[in-house]
Symmetry: C2
Subunit: 513 residues, 2 copies
């Protein structure tokens, strides 16, 4: 194995944070934009987001949720109302104060003092308030319920430290907002969205996740209950990859979302909200990437197969290209994982080897290299991105007959999708540690010189209020956070390691993004 | 005909502007958001936009253009550079100056003076500058060309007078930006995008358009040539529905987009940009709407067929619903206009008649009402939205056997698509007036008491500079603008009515949105 010369100069083991940045750069997924904390999402990165959008949007629509679009700007007064209601209200937001530029007399431009807005506008950090106001207009009677709304949009949060895809000033997301007649309906919708996220993460993204409820201190401000999907990255840290909130009647009260029930009485709606963002792409990289770059699960790969003709700028190129084009067309007619196979014949100028490594780093699931001899003999040479190397350190290209390859291609794609998930799940499961029965043992566990210590599963008594704050403080000293309480887990036994009281449930603790 | 009681209280002839607003409200397409100049796009309006995006995006991708995402915010300095280069630089923009809110001590919030940005950020009015900067990074050699980029995004222009879909502070659009090695390639791309827009308008949107070049005074600031598609609304006014610009090397020079050619020499790229926006939806309404609300061409209709069961809250409802569900499933299996039929079984509570009028106003192409007797007898009752009324003033429902309807449904949808286009084209063609051979005759034509005078086709000598300004001033006095010079038209003969010189081409003049 030591003979392998990986495509990236920095390995995961060498410097995980730098490796992450390098994957993004080398796979041409995104780059710094020159605007603080904002990135340019390049075609390969955006193509993955388009795949996520397409598949998730189909699930959202299948659940009867309708897409809308709400304004980018929110008047300051909407937030003043929320700031009163909601403890933990975040104040780091981009504020628009002027609507015109004028020359400063020195060749530059400045906001025109004459064009100051009477009421500043906030660039939406989420559309909770403005959607709440719309729901108050739209809901009159029980016949209008449930009201199921979703938005795909950009939002802005003024982050001090940013990291591409994981935490950026501007990011892309979907936010679902729903209103219901009662608690049961709203809770069912909250859990439906959570299950949709789980199935999406573990299906198309091939990222194993734990679904569960966040502890009180990690709830969305104002929520009655917050649920999340939590994924383990290859450095053992946790990534919160999606959340779903049951908001009770608090938001409905603040926004005035009331309905007349079947008996003619006015009642407050129960609301929910749920969202996932471009952060999922960060999770994808840190779950599936390796020392040769990204590996994209076929279901979300913008291209699933890339064909590289080894052009020689001579007369034989035409026959080679014709062979490759026929191969491309034959693949494009097949269906894998519920959709037509996405296949690209890469005819751009450049050496096939250089192009191969560019596609390896992008993580395209199957790469074909076709030379003149292959074309003449009806052969293909193919490598699976998830099995890139032979033991002798050579790239694992396998020659086979064209027809045999075409007959096996769909199965290969489906196998890659499954394998990436299984590999990630086995790694995740091996890194969840149990049997830690005291705070001292917990401290000792994380004090050991383990680069990637993973998660711990702990029994606890579900403390609240000041008692919970005390637990959070103790964990913080170990750089740990509580991720969630898994749904559907067996009842806990034993003693809470924080309070000494009988345990009532289990939690996952971890370092996190 | 006088017996008809239309669904809208304001007719097109009565008050076109009010009718337009009423269609949007009654079809539940959009509404005011409470944020100045910004609208909430509701499910039916957003569903049409999703259809436009889906179909247009496929065309964009088929042309080899790749989607990216660029930041919402643009540093002020980028615009200072552009303001130097570009006469006609627009200065009405939303400016972000602060990144935090704090309490004002009186229960309100204000921008935190401690969190003032060193350099204000502009909310993108277009991404020209930031994409230019990215292209300068991405293009090194002739091998990188053409660089074909597109973005779907929201943009903001601080408009003084706004009108839903037509001119809003925030709107949604796509902006294509491409870089090429030479003028010919860039011009070919400019015209490809223009033709894509023409085919899209006349195909899925069923809106007949004139493609042509805008006169010098209507060019995008800094462009060498600007082309447009121009559509005629039912009030005879013109709507610029899409533009495509050949930008020469000026933008490349400002942004530093250079490449090394095959001979190793540095050269400037030739760039293009092209875009369409949610404005298309305004054009759709004013082309196809009638006094009963919207009519949506089947290709862009979020639902093409709606089935309304006439429920009676009794035991027979179950059989009726089963019959309707079977009908829905049978329709959903069919393909029309290249895609599976989009059909909705509307089971919501409420009277079928009320629901019928809601769908009429939304403009769904085919509406089915199914009663218990229909279900028992294997019948359906169906009305085409584009042939809503019988001569006796009754709604034009036609009863027919279920199987006959299923056999004819796809053909009906295709016929509606075609009919809406033909109807709009005939109306447009009848409203283009020729034979006006002097400025006096032009003034007299528009002075007549015609509510909807339409367009005029004029011979002109293609004046430039001060001479053109003089023409524009004269037209402005008549509230007229030059729309474009049609591509592929026969050579003009005769005399320019403005300059008295020999005409070299024809132009369309019109009042416009």
């Amino acid at each position: 194995m030591s003979a392998i010369r990986h495509a990236l100069s920095v390995t995961r083991e060498g410097d995980f944070a730098q490796w992450y940045q390098d994957v993004i750069a080398e796979a041409e997924m995104a780059e710094e934009s020159g605007v603080r904390g904002c990135m340019v999402i390049k075609p390969w990165g955006y193509g993955i987001w388009e795949r996520i959008q397409k598949l998730m949007d189909a699930e959202i629509k299948a659940a009867g949720v309708e897409n809308c679009y709400f304004p980018l700007f929110i008047p300051l007064s909407y937030f003043a109302k929320e700031a009163e209601h909601v403890e933990g209200f975040a104040k780091e937001m981009a504020v628009v104060t002027h609507h015109r530029l004028i020359g400063d007399g020195k060749g530059g431009l400045v906001p025109d003092p004459e064009a100051k807005l009477e009421e500043p506008l906030v660039v939406r950090p989420t559309s909770e308030t403005v959607i709440g106001a719309a729901m108050a207009r739209w809901v009159q009677s029980w016949r209008d319920l449930p009201l199921l709304t979703n938005q795909w949009a950009n939002v802005v949060r003024w982050e001090m430290r940013t990291r591409m895809f994981l935490r950026t000033t501007e990011f892309l997301w979907q936010e679902g907002h729903t209103a219901h007649a009662n608690r049961d309906d709203a809770m069912a919708e909250t859990l439906r969205a959570l299950e949709m996220y789980r199935a999406f993460a573990e299906g198309p993204l091939a990222i194993p996740v734990i679904t569960g409820e966040k502890p009180e201190n990690e709830r969305f401000p104002g929520a009655v209950a917050t649920y999340s999907i939590e994924a383990m990255m290859q450095d053992g840290k946790a990534l919160q990859a999606g959340t779903s909130h049951y908001l009770g009647t608090g938001f409905a009260e603040a926004a005035g979302i009331r309905y007349q029930d079947r008996e003619g009485q006015q009642a407050l709606c129960h609301t929910t909200s749920w969202g996932v963002s471009t952060r999922l792409i960060g999770g994808l990289i840190m779950t599936h990437g390796d020392d040769d770059g990204l590996r994209v699960p076929p279901q979300v790969a913008p291209q699933q197969v890339v064909i590289l003709p080894m052009l020689r700028d001579n007369d034989e190129d035409a026959a080679l290209l014709a062979y490759c084009e026929e191969l491309r067309a034959a693949l494009a007619k097949q269906w894998a994982l519920g959709e037509p196979v996405r296949v690209l014949l890469d005819k751009r100028p450049g050496k096939a080897t250089q192009k191969r490594w560019a596609w390896v780093k992008k993580g395209v699931p199957l790469i074909l290299e076709i030379g003149g001899r292959d074309a003449a003999g009806g052969q293909v040479s193919v490598v699976r991105r998830d099995r890139l190397w032979r033991d002798d350190g050579k790239v694992n290209f396998v020659g086979q007959g064209r027809d045999a390859f075409l007959a096996a291609a769909v199965g290969e794609l489906e196998d890659i999708q499954r394998s990436l998930f299984e590999e990630a799940r086995a790694r995740r499961d091996a890194q969840i540690h149990t049997g830690i029965e005291s705070l001292e043992a917990l401290a000792a566990f994380y004090a050991e010189d383990k680069r990637y210590p993973g998660w711990v599963e702990l029994n606890w008594s579900r403390p609240t209020g000041a008692e919970l704050e005390d637990v959070v403080t103790k964990l913080k000293a170990l750089k740990l956070t509580i991720r969630n309480t898994p749904l559907g887990a067996q009842a806990a036994t034993g003693t809470c390691i924080f309070t000494g009281q009988p345990a009532v449930e289990r939690i996952y603790g971890a370092r996190s993004y």
